[in-house]
Every structure is written in structure tokens, then in C-alpha cells.
């Protein structure tokens, strides 16, 4: 299991205002803020399922991280295509 500091960062992506944007624009500062070790920085910078799993990131939080950083994935896991069918009997 990855250290809590890694999970705390990922958990913050959907909760801490501006964190996701700062991860894109100033990754190093965010990693500093959460006190990440070098191997943790490399894994999160890589962001692949293999890198995250190798670090021991919780499976659900792997999903959070990839959803937050990959709009294409978010475009797959969505109800948008069914919007006109929901709410109708």
C-alpha cells in the first residue's frame, strides 16, 4: 500500500479547490507540498496504471487519478450517452 501522503494528494484532486489545476501547472510544488519521495513523484508523474499499482496506490484511487488527468477516460465513464433515456418510463 502506498504511503498515506500519496493517497492524501489523490483524494484531494476532487476535493481541494485548485489542486488538480496546480498539479498540471506546477507539479513539483504540489509534490513538495505533500512531501512525496522521489519514487512517488516518478510514479505519479508517469500516471500509468502500472506505475500507480507499482507504488501500491489503492485501486479506487488509481481510478480517481486517471479520471482526473485523462479526459478521454472520463469521456468513457459517463452517463452522457443515456441522458435522453433517464427519467422516462
Amino acid at each position: 500500500m502506498a504511503p498515506y501522503r500519496v493517497h492524501r494528494l489523490i483524494l484531494g484532486l476532487f476535493k481541494v479547490p485548485g489542486l488538480l489545476e496546480r498539479l498540471s501547472t506546477d507539479q513539483r510544488a504540489v509534490f513538495d507540498e505533500y512531501g512525496l519521495a522521489e519514487n512517488e513523484r516518478k510514479a505519479l508523474a508517469d500516471g500509468s496504471p502500472e506505475a500507480l499499482a507499482g507504488l501500491g496506490v489503492h485501486p479506487i484511487l488509481q481510478m480517481h487519478y486517471m479520471l482526473a488527468r485523462d479526459p478521454a477516460m472520463a469521456g468513457q465513464i459517463t452517463i452522457r450517452a443515456y441522458a435522453d433515456q433517464i427519467g422516462r418510463s
Partner: protein, 269 residues
Amino acid sequence: MGKIAGAFATSHILMSPAGVEERAGRIVGGMKEIGRRVAAARPDVIVIISTDHMFNINMGLQPPFAVGVAGEYVPFGDMDIPRVPFPGHRAFAEAFVERAAEHGFDLAKAEELNPDHGVALPLLFANPERRVPVVPILVNINMQPIPAPKRCLRLAGVLRESIERDLPAGARAVVLGAGGLSHWLNVPGMGTVNTDFDRKVLDLFAAGRSGELGALSVAEIVEQGGNGGIEIVTWMMAAATCPGAPSEEIYYEAMPEWFTGMGGIALRL
């Protein structure tokens, strides 16, 4: 004295239908059919037993079970689910927590809960007008120790007692379990759908024998159904509020493209 007017279980995700249009259509059709039957049951309260995906229950605080006691909920909004408020049922939620305490279950109460897709997606079909007040019960399957299936079943028995004794006379409750079926999420095996396991589970529910799954350990269910398949405890709990009742299969589709088996049932009360 209240009564259980309907009990159902369903998977709780949808993904892009691209390339799987026919099966996705049958799944949505099944979810809509469950919604029609929920409406036909004319519930005064919907109790939904599901899981949170670490948008609410995270590592900062890790209760095995949590019950929403708020008067209103705003969905978290994952999966593009509209963040439109729906009502809670504070009185019944509080009464259930009190009754559970009498039975040795110290349940976490949640005043602030932004239900993610685990709760909010099934309700898009089961409570589309957002008129029926809801009590969300969350089973924490994401942190160790995961509540044992037999313990989940005991809690479901308390839920039944609470519906019968704590709701006003004539009040009607629908119980809806949400999650599963077999899936492996971001662990080896991801993309696998264990149709044999799913079929075994569905057949046990159909025969009114889902209680037998309570003899399985968490590890045994995870081995056969995946780290996401343990969500079937929510189905087991819904069925356990109507002990011995057989169920009708509303839909089942193996969806490896969505990394999961998808299913839905209605208990025959």
C-alpha cells in the same frame, strides 16, 4: 407499522455504449424496468444499500457502515450525474441507526454526504422525479477489514425490523441493493467477467437462497467475483430484508468492455 413494498438489486454504473450498443440498451432497459417497478410499489421511502467510491468515505475516516441521516443530498456529480438535490428521510434514518445500536451495530451517521454514482445512478431510474425520500446505507468495501457477509446479513435483518417497527403505520419502503456483479478494478484480472460466478449468484437469488452466500468469506467472494464483485453484499442485504423470497432476473449482461458483469433483479414478495 411499515412494510417492505419492493426489494430490488442492480449494478450501479453505466459506461459509453460505443461498440456495445445492443447490450448497453438492454442494461438501460433493465434499469428502467426496475424503476417502473419501484414506482409501482408506491414507496414512501427508498432505502438504497450501496458503496461509496472514496468520494465521501475516504482514508481520513473509515467507518465499516455509514447511514445518511440528512434531509437532502446533492450528488457528487461523478459520471456527469446531475448535481440536483434529492430528499433524505431523516426520521427513518435516525430510527434505523438507533435500532441498529440496540442490536450491537454502531453505525456512522453522515450529515454531509454527496452520493457518488453508487447511490446516485440507480436513483436516476428508481427515483427519477426525486420525490421519494431516500436513506442511503453505505457498506465500506474499500478498506480493510471489509464487513463480513454474515454481518451484513444481520444488519439487513435489523433494517427489516426497523422498517416494520419504526415507520408509521401503512408506510411503504422499497429496499434497493446496488453494486456488482463480478469485476476486478485496477488489479490483475481487470476486464475479466466471471460469468459462472455471476450466474451462480443470480441463480441463488432466483431460488430465494441468497442467504447461502452469507457463508462465504470476503476473501472467497473476492476470489471469485473480484475486488469489485464484493459489492454483491449490497444485493444480499436487500434480499435479506425479505428472507427466502425468490427473485426475478430483470437483466444480465457480461460486459468485459465495461470491465464488469451487469445485472438486476426484483424480489418476488
